[in-house]
């Protein structure tokens, strides 16, 4: 059996067609786009086309609203740092407790510099409270940054509504859409979103290429100053091959967006149903009715995620976990804690994330393996006895020290 890759929210395989369009930019059209000779004369055109392909996927009004960056993280940092630099009198930032570290760590650092960070909590299903959001908006807020879709659970936030509310209050709005772009349709020109981050490697383009969408007219300060590349908004010689590759990947994503939301979703749903029906004491986390079509995050009680991944890996199946142990920290993921998932389950969460390269056959293979994996580990667990958890696990297992 060939290996099964269900870790597409971590990163994706580069599409063959993407690799094909990139190769000439390494071997033939390798000139600097700023140069005037035949090694470069097709490059500017290639980049322009890529910009339009990105524009089309996200529904931007102008192609000049697309700024190529080195990754999603750079786009996020650029957006937030630009907003506070352009509005030096505004000292507050609104975000959520479940953002990617690319936002949270930056906000932690800004907090030390004296900024007030409002980290909005989520409920047990990972949802935001829009009413309390409204109360936070004020003329003191430099920027709101709320992710479009969560990388762990796939939960989608109502960013269009939140952006409208921010706009009405005169506050800039950024969204980290790294997980959402290419998986769900979007039309930015119909929204009040001012800035949006995306990352190539989540949609079958290479790693190390990203985009910051910057709505025309949004006040902006570059992160990297230098040459005139990207109209002076992001200096540094263009990563031409990757830009062209990202363009192609966006074109393919747009062509497959229906497939993603029907066929890919069907695979996800079948896996999710199969697992929760066959295996006792497990449940799906996040907002089940507002989720990316490709993601399911399942918590298996009384066992630990890394151990599950190691057994899955041995069976040729790749997934990932919000478990503490995979990151080397002692706490389960901040997303699980934010949703108040009980500790009995938070350490045993496994995320399966699909792409258009997966098949129903693979889903069936995983369904064959999964019950055995869980049973093996539960047999080792002091919280499990026979067919079920020991009665009152926290009581039954009570170490001699507290």
């Amino acid at each position: 059996m060939t290996d099964i890759y269900l870790d597409n929210n971590a990163t994706t395989k580069v599409d063959h067609a993407v690799v094909d369009v990139m190769i000439p930019y390494f071997l033939e059209q390798y000139g600097n786009p700023s140069s005037i000779h035949k090694f470069a004369d097709g490059v500017a055109r290639g980049i322009k086309r890529a910009r339009q392909q990105v524009q089309e996927l996200i529904g931007a009004e102008h192609d000049s609203e697309i700024i190529f960056t080195s990754c999603g993280t750079e786009s996020n940092s650029t957006a937030i740092l630009s907003a506070i630099k352009a509005q030096p009198n505004k000292k507050e930032i609104i975000t959520t407790t479940v953002e990617h570290p690319a936002i949270l760590s930056l906000c932690d650092a800004l907090e030390k510099d004296g900024y007030t960070i409002h980290r909005m909590p989520v409920d047990k299903a990972g949802r935001l409270n829009v009413e309390s959001y409204k109360k936070l908006l004020s003329d003191q807020v430099a920027i709101v940054s709320v992710m479009w879709a969560n990388n762990e659970t796939g939960t989608i936030f109502p960013v269009q509504e939140l952006a409208q509310l921010a706009h009405d209050a005169g506050v800039m709005f950024h969204t980290d859409a790294v997980q959402a772009v290419g998986k769900i349709p979007m039309m930015l020109q119909d929204t009040k979103i001012d800035m949006l981050s995306l990352s190539g490697h989540k949609l079958h383009a290479p790693k190390g290429i990203g985009v910051l969408y910057l709505r025309r007219g949004t006040r902006y300060r570059p992160l990297l100053r230098g040459g005139h590349q990207e109209r002076g908004r992001r200096a540094g010689t263009e990563n031409t091959a990757s830009i062209v590759g990202l363009g192609k990947a966006c074109e393919l994503a747009l062509a497959h967006i229906e497939y993603e939301n029907t066929q890919v979703k069907a695979m996800r749903d079948r896996l999710e149903r199969g697992i929760t029906e066959q295996i006792p004491h497990c449940f799906v986390t996040g907002d089940l009715y507002n989720r990316l079509p490709n993601t399911t995050d399942i918590a298996f009680e009384y066992i630990e995620g890394e151990a599950i991944l190691m057994l899955l890996n041995k069976a040729g199946i790749a997934a990932s976990s919000g478990s503490a142990c995979t990151s080397g920290s002692l706490e389960p993921s901040h997303v699980m804690r934010a949703m108040d998932i009980p500790y009995t389950a938070a350490h045993g969460t496994i995320r399966f994330s699909f792409s258009r390269y997966n098949s129903m056959h693979e889903v069936d293979e995983v369904l064959k393996v999964m019950p055995g994996v869980v049973a093996t580990l539960r047999k080792l667990s002091p919280y499990w006895e026979g067919d079920g958890p020991v009665a009152n696990p926290e009581q039954a297992f009570k170490p001699t020290y507290a």
């Binding site: 009384y302 630990e304 151990a307 190691m310 080397g328 002091p382 919280y383 001699t400």
Partner: protein, 301 residues
């Protein structure tokens, strides 16, 4: 994923002695479900000889927690409980051919469960004496709680102080920002402010830096002197270092005790080398004595 040794994988995929020993007379339980790590060790101890006849484990935890539990039961079966008490977490890690620094706490948990089980057998109370925080320094596997305690107890004020007391920060230096954050926090609690420019309150043992070229004898003496000054820190970890031979500017050393074979040994050697070069003002290469022969052969060839 982690770069686990084959031994860890072997014990994880085919754990030995999984499950509870049915007629156990010693039970040790450590950890809790909220920390993501819990281990129950059950032993059958022969009352006359105090030999551990059988051992079983039940573990909730990651791959290395399960492997550590499994290897622990293998190590202690057939030992007297007195000998078993001498098993250190480093022994567990060594049997597993090393654990990543982030995972050393799994071997610590194994040792604690063993202590708890033996205390239970003897009818004693067993108290856990160690609290664990987020891992700060990956080079030396030092966590936040350890650094905080040291800062409090020894009135440390700078990153250099922390390095002198805990080794944290003495390797690649990438954890210095986190160490500064801890200093900032603890000093604030004490009503002081952290000054990154402040001179260190602790001094490295004063050793006169040498000027000018050294004779070989001077060089050996100086190396001995530096090793002597580093010895307390190593011994605090249950290790030691011994100078075996000096050839040109290469010093061959033996790492003993807890440092021997531990994956931190390479890091410790790098630290010793750094210190030697600072003091001697010349390039010194520190090499484990075990590699001596090999290297000499290459030189001859």
């Amino acid at each position: 994923m982690w770069d686990y040794s084959d031994k860890v994988k072997e014990h994880f995929f085919n754990p030995k002695n999984a499950g509870a020993v049915p007629d156990a007379n010693a039970i040790g339980e450590v950890g809790s479900i909220s920390c993501g790590d819990a281990l129950r060790l059950t032993l059958k101890v022969d009352d006359d000889s105090e030999v551990i006849l059988d051992a079983g484990f039940q573990t909730f935890g990651c791959g290395s927690a399960i492997a550590s539990s499994s290897v622990l039961t293998e190590i202690i079966k057939g030992m007297t409980i007195d000998d078993a008490l001498k098993v250190t977490n480093q022994d567990i890690a060594d049997q597993l051919e090393g654990l990543p620094p982030e995972k050393m706490h799994c071997s610590v948990m194994g040792r604690e469960a063993l202590q708890a089980a033996i205390a239970n057998y003897r009818g004693e109370e067993w108290a856990d004496d160690h609290e664990e925080g987020a891992l700060i320094c990956k080079c030396f596997a030092i966590d936040a709680v350890m650094i905080e305690e040291m800062v409090w107890a020894n009135k440390l004020r700078t990153v250099e102080d922390v390095t002198n007391f805990t080794k944290a920060g003495g390797g690649c230096a990438s954890c210095h920002e986190d160490i500064e954050a801890i200093l900032e926090k603890v000093l604030a609690e004490k009503g002081e402010t952290f000054d990154p420019e402040a001179p260190a309150v602790t001094k490295k043992p004063a050793i006169a830096e040498v000027k000018g070229p050294l004779t070989n004898l001077q060089r050996i003496k100086k190396i001995e002197e530096v090793l002597e000054s580093l010895r307390p820190a190593l011994m605090a970890d249950g290790g030691d270092v011994e100078l075996v031979e000096v050839m040109g500017n290469t010093a061959y050393v033996n790492m003993t005790g807890a440092c021997n074979g531990c994956q931190m040994a390479a890091m410790t050697i790098a630290g010793i080398q750094q210190r030697l070069m600072e003091v001697m003002g010349e390039f010194i290469k520190v090499v484990p004595a075990s590699e001596m022969k090999k290297l000499v052969n290459i030189e001859v060839a």
